[in-house]
């Protein structure tokens, strides 16, 4: 009897543990809301209603989630190779340059051609931005965390320069490019949701969501159903075991970072081709860092990542509504929740693992 209970718990642990950790993060956030002098219960209601309560809210939630699927997958893939990629923000930003160049200069081609080129350009530019840190880690042993942070700053400066000096729309003050050609507008999913009886209103949910889900499925297959994925995970788990088996961990580190950068680079599809239709200053808006929380909460599994991306999409969308409805609650509260989720799901993962196992496992 007790064995059944134990094995059931072990099976459910990957789901239970992140949820418990999320619960703690939410409790602390509720305490902060209490401290501000608002009711946490009402706040949660507003977040829920804002994110899932209406078709339009749901559309926005899914739109944000799409961003986080891309960056979450990027962080997770690098993690499986034993690397912590905190450069997704920069890779996504530079990837956006690739997407924009297609949108601006190749917009005369047929729609499908432009979309496919957009995906490749975003992925290529993102991967390129990850390539130097990846090379330095694999060949010179310089720590990827440090180099990717540096590349975030370099990327941000580079993109500001591009926007201010090269791509800026003539005769305009704001650092934005001119609008993309209409062929580079990703089709809205409004019609698809209408078939399900949901009116997504003005929300920018677009084809990038479908692309993100397909890529998530492909990454799942890549990681768990191919030799490449197996060898990548071996390199990440134990470099010495990998070497003994004739696998070069350095080569997998490099490749994993390239794929990771490519995934982050696809952010521009959703944000630029899908919604803003032009290149704007600092468009990733922290999505690269949310990707860390998403990957940690989704336990670096593409299925988990899709769900945790949905959660963070809802938090960002609902958090916006919350800031609107409760003028004393800042939009930044969402960043607090993100930070706490990373703290509890990432750094303090072990803190609750043992007590929970003690409760549920009888023979430990």
């Amino acid at each position: 009897m007790s064995n059944i209970k134990s094995s059931l718990y072990l099976r459910l642990e990957p789901i239970v543990l992140p949820l418990v950790n999320l619960g703690i993060a939410l409790i602390i956030s509720s305490l902060i809301i209490c401290l501000i002098g608002e009711s946490p219960q009402k706040a949660i209601e507003i977040i829920w209603k804002g994110s899932f309560g209406s078709g339009e809210g749901l559309g926005y939630t899914l739109f944000y989630s799409t961003n986080y699927i891309f960056t979450g997958l990027a962080v997770a893939l690098a993690y499986h190779a034993g690397l912590f990629n905190i450069g997704c923000e920069g890779q996504a930003y530079v990837g956006g340059l690739g997407v924009s160049l297609v949108g601006l200069y190749l917009g005369g081609l047929p729609v499908w051609c432009v979309i496919v080129l957009g995906i490749f350009a975003g992925a290529l530019f993102g991967a390129a931005w990850a390539a130097i840190p990846a090379y330095l880690q694999a060949r010179k042993g310089s720590h990827i965390v440090i180099t990717t942070i540096m590349f975030n700053f370099i990327g941000s400066a580079l993109m500001t320069w591009f926007l201010v000096s090269v791509l800026i729309k003539p005769g305009q003050q704001a650092p934005e490019s001119r609008a993309f050609s209409t062929h580079a507008f990703l089709p809205s999913l409004k019609g698809l949701f209408a078939l399900l009886g949901i009116n997504t209103g003005e929300s920018p949910v677009n084809l990038a969501l479908v692309i993100a889900l397909i890529i998530a499925a492909l990454i799942w297959i890549l990681l768990w159903k191919t030799r490449f994925g197996y060898e990548l995970r071996v390199s990440g788990t134990s470099q010495s075991a990998a070497r003994y088996a004739g696998i070069s961990p350095e080569s997998y580190m490099f490749k994993a970072m390239l794929i990771s950068g490519a995934l982050a680079g696809c952010l521009g599809l959703n944000e630029l081709m899908g919604s803003q239709h032009r290149l704007t200053l600092d468009f990733p808006a922290g999505a690269g860092f949310i990707g860390i929380a998403v990957a940690l909460m989704g336990r670096n599994n593409p299925v988990g990542i899709c769900f945790s991306a949905l959660l963070f999409g809802a938090l960002v969308q609902g958090g916006g509504e919350l800031a609107f409805e409760m003028p004393h609650v800042s939009h930044s509260l969402v960043i607090v929740i993100q930070g706490l989720v990373i703290l509890f799901c990432g750094a303090l993962e072990q803190l609750l693992k043992k007590p929970l196992r003690k409760v549920f496992l009888t023979h430990v």
């Binding site: 440090i146 540096m150 400066a157 607090v336 993100q338 930070g339 750094a347």
Partner: protein, 324 residues
């Protein structure tokens, strides 16, 4: 002509000192933390927390000194949390630091909005007592009349906030503690080989915690400087990556105190040149994009890390949690 270049250079150097102060403090904070083997990615969060706490308390109590006290306490509290996670719970140090940086980056504006209702900021500190204003040392105004040695004294040595002088004394003091005291030796030993230190009967956890708390104090002073000396109040993201820039300076200085100081001054100098060069066309080079100068410290650090210029010798046990 010569005089105007002379004045320009002195003003540039004075600007360098102002920009370098928080950077030096944060870099030395990182020095203590990293030399003890704890990754110093949390500098940004500690500084931002201190900037908010000092600005908020200085606005409420009307005294910059109370601001400094509360700013430093807040930063030490954050350092305590960081050392709890990284040293006592053996959590991943990089993940913990990123988590704390994000939490503070969200919490500071949230509390600012809730307490002051001025849109994510604290009230501007208008009363002289609420800020660490620039002090003028004796005779500085009369020294200004004699440009050659005088301007050097009045602009470069005099005319800075109290915290600048504090930072200037902390530099040799920190180097002394790290290299000439038993405590410093232990910090460095724990960062290189914690097992040896443990075998000698010294608690690794205690030394690492102390080092992280010291880095909390230094970041607290840095954050207070940003909000009450360089600025006049807290605005969101006012540290603007200085914690990471400090980490770059630390790497650039190869984890040695005086080299790291040199790196800070170099980075600060490029920064103050960048503000002066905006839109100025140089002979041979033309207009250098400001963004390039902003990115220069990071580019230099990457080049250094690539090993083309010099070997980088990080503390050997950095980032590895120690568990007996």
């Amino acid at each position: 002509m010569i005089l105007s270049y002379y004045t320009l250079i002195i003003l540039l150097l004075a600007g360098t000192i102002r920009v370098a102060t928080p950077l030096v403090l944060a870099t030395y904070a990182g020095l203590f933390s990293e030399r003890s083997g704890v990754v110093a990615l949390g500098l940004e969060g500690m500084m931002l927390g201190a900037a908010f706490a000092s600005a908020a308390s200085s606005a409420i109590y009307g005294s910059a000194w109370i601001g400094l006290l509360i700013g430093v306490s807040t930063s030490v509290l954050i350092a305590g949390l960081l050392s709890f996670v990284c040293v006592f719970k053996q959590g991943n140090q990089v993940v913990a630091a990123i988590a704390i940086n994000l939490t503070i980056a969200g919490l500071a504006p949230t509390l600012a909005l809730a307490w002051f209702d001025l849109g994510n900021q604290t009230p501007s500190l208008v009363n002289p007592g609420q800020r660490f204003l620039e002090l003028s040392l004796p005779w500085s105004s009369s020294a200004r009349l004699h440009p050659f040695p005088g301007l050097l004294y009045s602009e470069l040595i005099s005319g800075h906030s109290f915290i600048v002088y504090l930072a200037a004394t902390l530099v040799p003091l920190s180097a002394f503690i790290l290299y000439k005291t038993r405590f410093g030796l232990r910090i460095r030993a724990v960062g290189e080989n914690p097992y040896a230190v443990d075998t000698a009967g010294i608690s690794v956890k205690k030394i690492r915690t102390q080092a992280v708390l010291i880095s909390g104090v230094l970041c607290g002073v840095a954050g207070t400087y940003l909000a009450t000396a360089a600025g006049a109040g807290f605005i969101p993201d006012m540290t603007a990556g200085k914690g990471y820039l400090a980490l770059a300076a630390l790497i650039f200085g190869n984890w040695r105190p005086y080299r790291a100081l040199g790196a800070c001054l170099l980075f600060a100098c490029t920064d103050s040149i960048a503000t002066r060069l905006q839109g100025v066309s140089l002979p041979m080079l033309g207009v250098i994009p400001v963004q390039f100068i902003i990115a220069l410290p990071y580019i230099l650090t990457v080049v250094l890390l690539a090993g083309f210029v010099a070997r980088s010798n990080p503390p050997k046990a950095i980032g590895i949690p120690y568990d007996k």
